[in-house]
């Protein structure tokens, strides 16, 4: 399923809404999650999962092609942990 298919499903269920409003609604949700993580915040959606930010320390990496050492800066990366309900549903419980 891709973004446009998700928008279409929501639009089909809500014939009273304009398609462009459904697009704005769906886009707002994803935008808000990225925004929160950019501020270092967590987004916890019970039953679905939680988005959080993890810190990665600086390290010395290696260019796999040349074997040359390169300094990799410390950085923050997005992380998603699946919620219990969804995890159980994936396994048919």
């Amino acid at each position: 399923m891709i973004r446009s298919e998700l928008i279409q499903k929501i639009a089909d269920e809500n014939p009273h809404l304009y398609q462009r409003d459904v697009e704005r609604i769906v886009n707002t949700i994803f935008e808000e999650i990225i925004d929160a993580m950019s501020n270092g915040d967590r987004v916890e959606l019970r039953g679905f999962g939680a988005f959080s930010v993890k810190q990665r320390d600086a390290r010395t990496g290696r260019n796999p092609r040349t074997g040359e050492s390169v300094e990799v800066e410390a950085k923050s990366v997005p992380f998603f942990k699946t919620g219990k309900l969804l995890r159980d549903r994936l396994n048919g419980n």
Binding site: M1, L6, S38, G47, P78, F80
Partner: protein, 100 residues
């Protein structure tokens, strides 16, 4: 910067501000979005949201695990797990926003 935790309520509040539906309907729409994504994943589909990221379901084979406390061997049955791969845009924005 003190970090906080956002919930469904914050997402519906954002939808409410953006589109001007009732708070109640905004909350229902947030729920529908999560439900449709969950249903697709449970049916084994990959959910690919451009410029956000990709959720995919992976099959894990059965293996023998160990209780780290007692050292006892326990069978772990085959199972399906969900993985999320953030888009480049998400990685860039999260890394830029949390510098320093």
């Amino acid at each position: 910067m003190a970090s906080k935790t956002l919930t469904r309520m914050d997402l519906s509040e954002a939808v409410f501000r953006e589109v001007g539906l009732s708070r109640n309907e905004s909350a229902q729409l947030v729920e529908s979005v999560l439900d449709h994504m969950s249903d697709a994943l449970v049916s084994g589909e990959t959910v690919k949201i451009s410029s956000f990221g990709t959720f995919s379901v992976r099959e894990k084979a059965a293996r023998v695990g160990r209780n780290p406390k007692t050292g006892e061997e326990v069978p772990i049955s085959p199972r399906r797990v969900l993985t999320f791969r953030p888009s480049h845009l998400m990685k860039d924005r999260v890394s830029a926003g949390n510098k320093g």
